[in-house]
């Protein structure tokens, strides 16, 4: 089977799954929909591996294959074709996306069991994965934009999945609106590029770009900056990040999918995919690197103060995506994608473990309520710790190698990139701190009542289900999390998914251990062969980075242990010592408030103005009433002559004819 045929099947399987489960809504008994959905993604993953194998059989210089299903607008000289591009980068992405998504689907089979929107959920979930696969397999800008917008739409549907919760629906809208900002950026950026190259095709664009654009010229910089807007909105980078923590309103598997596989990584992929353009626009690259760096620090500090379990993980995602964006922006493509992969493993694992914890807490997500769950749920605890160690970058877990390879590249570039290097290690310290703050607060200490209940073999279910976000009593119809809760200790699909991811989170780093293995570098090399940025950090820097990474992560964990386990009173003391910083972190650096004041409220004001003044007075009053009034008055004037008297008509006709005759007579 050729690589492109397999890639088409990779795309077709999730779409078929979404359509089948969507069409047979209400007719699929029990957990059948879950198994269909999981099987669809599993087929996709198997064919992703087939694509990988088929691609490897080509010679390294011949690993950029395209396949066109049909031409959409050939007549108007726009090469808008339904084309997929199968190259190492896209194959790498489909393997990660389909692989992690398969496990997340498997987890969801049990996790969502009690939900009455079960079939709908899997239909959406399959569509989400299909959209992301379309995004990464797209062979031209047009299809990329389609996949990009599909991902936004699917995320909206899934974040608002529990649509009886007002908090969930508003979070969905927020995500959608911010993503549309990104879509606009992407589309405008595409126009900037297309204007010069005259082609939408990726390979054609990349071939033409060095001739059509001078390095650092205004248009390519503007185009790349606009592409960055798209990447920032999808990947939740400052200042377009506020949707991501709110997206935690969705079911936990959705959070796992958004954070690990299908959505936030799209921005990283975009920059890596567009690297021939970005290398022509060093200013845009620097903007990406700085924003990534700011995001990783700011998100880390918010993660230290957040009290919602899922939100802490959400901020950690923002922070880790910051590393990736920083990496791919400075030219560390392989390292950035390496981190994308390992992050997908351990972040999906963390979310799955968090879902299990939330189930055990009867739906409650607040860290303040959790404690001592360690003995009650040992498997979840083990997975959480493995995920946490990988996230903190403790050797030899996967995150250790991937994070350090990004930072090593920064060090290799030298110059002002040293600032980013230092900030990266500061971020690593923050990562270890907030991750283990979360773990120590949830799993250590005196067991909370729910944990005690679970230790006696009973899963806590609240008498009256409430929305954990605002305490509203749930409207227990279809759009709310079902009455049943599922924890990993009792459901084998959840355990299987988490076990698989835990294994990957531990050993995932093996694909690119510095100076030892370079499978990932070799595999991705054909895509990035034309990269003009290459660094060769010295062995000294490499050793420094590896030692620094290990020391900082272990030190951070030790510090967290000291603050939150040995001296539980210390954290409030520190918070009281620096009230300003505490307030800043707890209020998420006031980004929501600032955006609200600068964009949302003026927008709402303008909307009201448009409705009350433009719409009511100008459009309704002047334009519509004016036109109808004019026609009505005119017709009233003319209507008088239509009196039905034949002789009057004849007389008028005669007068008219006579007048016309007279006119011509006088003319001649």
């Amino acid at each position: 089977m050729s690589a492109t045929t397999a890639a088409w099947i990779v795309l077709a399987a999730p779409l078929a799954g979404a359509l089948v489960t969507g069409a047979l809504f209400r007719r699929l008994p029990g957990q059948l929909a879950g198994w269909i959905g999981t099987a669809a993604i599993a087929v996709s993953f198997v064919f992703a591996l087939v694509t990988l194998a088929a691609l490897q059989s080509h010679s390294p210089g011949d690993r950029e294959l395209t396949s066109t299903a049909w031409t959409i607008a050939g007549t108007v000289k726009v090469d808008a074709r339904l084309t997929i591009l199968v190259d190492p980068l896209s194959v790498f992405m489909i393997c990660v996306v389909a692989g992690v998504s398969t496990l997340i689907h498997l987890y969801s089979i049990s996790y969502l069991r009690g939900d009455r929107g079960y079939v709908r959920f899997f239909s959406y979930l399959n569509f989400f994965v299909f959209s992301m696969l379309l995004l990464v397999l797209a062979g031209n800008f047009l299809l990329l934009i389609v996949g990009w917008a599909f991902v936004g739409a699917a995320s909206y549907m899934l974040i608002s999945f529990w649509y009886r919760r007002t908090t969930a629906t508003s979070a969905g809208m927020k995500a959608f609106v911010i993503n549309v900002v990104g879509d606009v950026g992407l589309v405008l950026g595409t126009f900037f590029i297309f204007r010069h190259t005259g082609t939408l095709d990726f390979l054609g664009t990349f071939r033409a770009a060095p001739h059509d654009f001078a390095s650092g010229s205004g248009d390519v910089t503007a185009g790349c900056l606009l592409l960055l807007v798209g990447a920032f909105a999808k990947s939740a980078q400052i200042p377009l990040h506020t949707w991501l923590p709110d997206a935690m309103e969705g079911p936990t598997p959705v959070s796992a999918l958004i954070h690990a596989a299908t959505m936030v990584t799209a921005g990283v992929y975009l920059i890596a995919r567009m690297h021939p353009l970005f290398q022509l626009a060093p200013a845009a690259e620097d903007v990406g690197a700085i924003i990534g760096c700011l995001t990783l620090l700011i998100a880390g500090t918010i993660g230290l103060a957040a009290t919602d379990l899922k939100r802490v993980i959400a901020y950690s995602t923002m922070s880790q995506i910051g590393y990736m964006i920083m990496g791919v922006s400075v030219g560390a493509y392989t390292a950035g994608l390496f981190h994308l992969m390992t992050h997908a493993f351990f972040k999906a694992l963390l979310f799955m473990a968090a879902g299990s914890v939330i189930s055990a807490m009867g739906g409650n997500q607040s860290l303040d309520r959790m404690s001592g769950l360690r003995r009650a749920m040992p498997f979840t605890f083990a997975c959480f710790v493995i995920g946490g160690l990988a996230l903190s970058g403790v050797p030899p877990f996967s995150g250790y190698f991937s994070k350090d390879s990004i930072l090593l590249f920064l060090a290799g570039r030298g110059g002002w990139y040293w600032i980013l290097y230092v900030a990266g290690y500061l971020g690593a310290l923050l990562t270890a701190l907030y991750t283990f703050r979360m773990i120590f607060r949830a799993f250590f200490g005196e067991p909370c009542p729910e944990a005690v209940e679970l230790e006696h073999g009973h899963l806590h279910h609240p008498a009256q289900p409430t929305n954990p976000a605002n305490g509203e009593i749930e409207d227990t119809d279809v759009g709310f999390p079902g009455p049943d809760h599922a924890i990993a200790e009792r459901e084998w699909p959840m355990r299987a998914a988490m076990g698989g991811l835990a294994l990957l989170a531990i050993v995932g780093g093996i694909v690119a251990i510095p100076k030892t293995t370079s499978w990932l570098d070799n595999f991705l090399a054909p895509t990035f062969a034309n990269s003009t940025i290459s660094v060769h950090p010295s062995n000294g820097l490499l050793a420094l980075g590896l030692i620094l990474g290990a020391v900082i992560s272990l030190g951070g964990i030790g510090l967290a242990y000291y603050i939150w386990v040995l001296r539980p009173s210390l954290a409030p003391e520190i918070a009281a010592r620096v009230p300003l910083l505490t307030r800043l972190f707890e209020n998420k650096w006031y980004f929501d408030e600032v955006i609200d004041a600068l964009v949302v409220r003026p927008g709402a004001w303008f909307g009201r103005f448009a409705q009350n003044t433009v719409e009511r007075v100008f459009v309704d009053g002047a334009l519509i009433s004016g036109t109808t009034g004019l026609v009505r008055a005119g017709s009233a004037l003319v209507r008088g002559t239509q009196n039905g008297l034949l002789r009057v008509y004849a007389g008028l006709m005669l007068v008219g004819l006579a007048a016309v005759g007279l006119y011509f007579l006088l003319q001649s």
Binding site: R639, Q642, G644, L645, R647, A650, L654
Partner: protein, 99 residues
């Protein structure tokens, strides 16, 4: 004889016809007046035909005669239908088609 006399008579007959159409209310009389107008036109056509010395005008006159015959057929049909339905035979009474 000059063409002027023919045209003068034609114009006179046309004016009488037009005046009749405007003044009278009985549809039958109106049709008669219409015929007068058509025939006034015929007279002018034949006059011009004679002036130019070819037959075009006469052929036009023949066509006008045919059209007049058709028109009278339709018109008389309407008048008969009105009479059968016992409607007043008066054009001023028939004004349902007003705006």
């Amino acid at each position: 004889m000059s063409i002027g006399w023919y045209l003068a008579v034609s114009a006179l007959i046309f004016a009488i016809g037009a005046g009749g159409v405007l003044i009278r209310r009985n549809p039958l009389v109106i049709f008669l007046c219409l015929e007068l107008m058509l025939n006034a036109a015929n007279l002018a056509l034949i006059g011009f035909s004679r002036m130019w010395g070819n037959g075009d005008g006469q052929i036009f006159a023949m066509i006008v005669l045919v059209v007049a015959a058709c028109e009278v057929t339709v018109g008389l049909g309407i008048v008969v239908a009105m009479h059968r339905r016992r409607l007043p035979v008066d054009v001023d009474e028939m004004r349902e088609l007003q705006g």
